[in-house]
Amino acid sequence: MERDTESKLARQLIAGETGAFDRFVEYFRPKIFQYSWLMCGHREDAEEVAQETLLKVFESGDQLREPKKIRSWVFRIAKNACLMKRRKSIFAPAKEFSLDEFLPSKHQDGGQVRMEIADWSALPEGEALQSEMRELLEKAIRELPEVYRSVILLRDIEELSTQETAQILDVSDDVVKTRLHRARLAIRQILDAYLRANEVEAGGKRHGTPPAQ
């Protein structure tokens, strides 16, 4: 649905329809700002990126041939604008994750080796995120190294496809998939640690996963 709305906005914008400019800016400006805010880490940078991106969209708008590609077009411009704002504190140092660092740790429990995984079953689905969880997720995303953050923002937050994300970031589809998996694992690990800490606090301490029956 979102995609339909977006390509409609783009078509109306190109056609110069009344009100199209305001609708386009109202829709995309907060989107670009939010992406840039998570990407750059600074409000003032994100405000500037939003303005620079929209300006660039209009300046090169006569080249937009396919309105249905508007989202990836806009995010490609926004990504480049974010790179120009690159600040050492948030973009460096480059860190590569290895898969092994996300394997749940094991511990001895009597004669059993168990995995340290929180009880995720209590986590509600399809409901608005509770503020504590939301803040934790936001912090986890913002603290990811840039190469992982850029992929998870486009794939899981903006819900662009692997191919679109690869084009925006100038990497191969396989690189997108590899980075996405590590980014998700890194976030999962942070959420898992939080859930486990809460279990301990609630007195319902669980020693990992029960062994397979």
Binding site: P30, F33, A46, L55, P104, I117
Partner: protein, 93 residues
Amino acid sequence: MEPHQHNEKCKEVFALLSDYLDLDLPPEACQEIEAHIAGCAPCIEFAESLRKTVGLCRQYQPTELPAPLGQEAKAQLLEAYGKMLAARTNRPG
């Protein structure tokens, strides 16, 4: 009962979980993962926690909003938009 180790199969599944959740694997690889997971409680739990992580990311909406668009910034955008429309209108063909 065998204690659960990170055996090679678990590690293979672990490496492919995102592709699996994104339905991005060939059918035979999917079936292989499903066959393993069906008999491996820790892998089920891990896959479920990763699936929920992705779900949380998809639900997530940033709360930060940009400051209202200032008059000067809007004028700058409108000017560029005007030029864009003119360029499209004047384009031959």
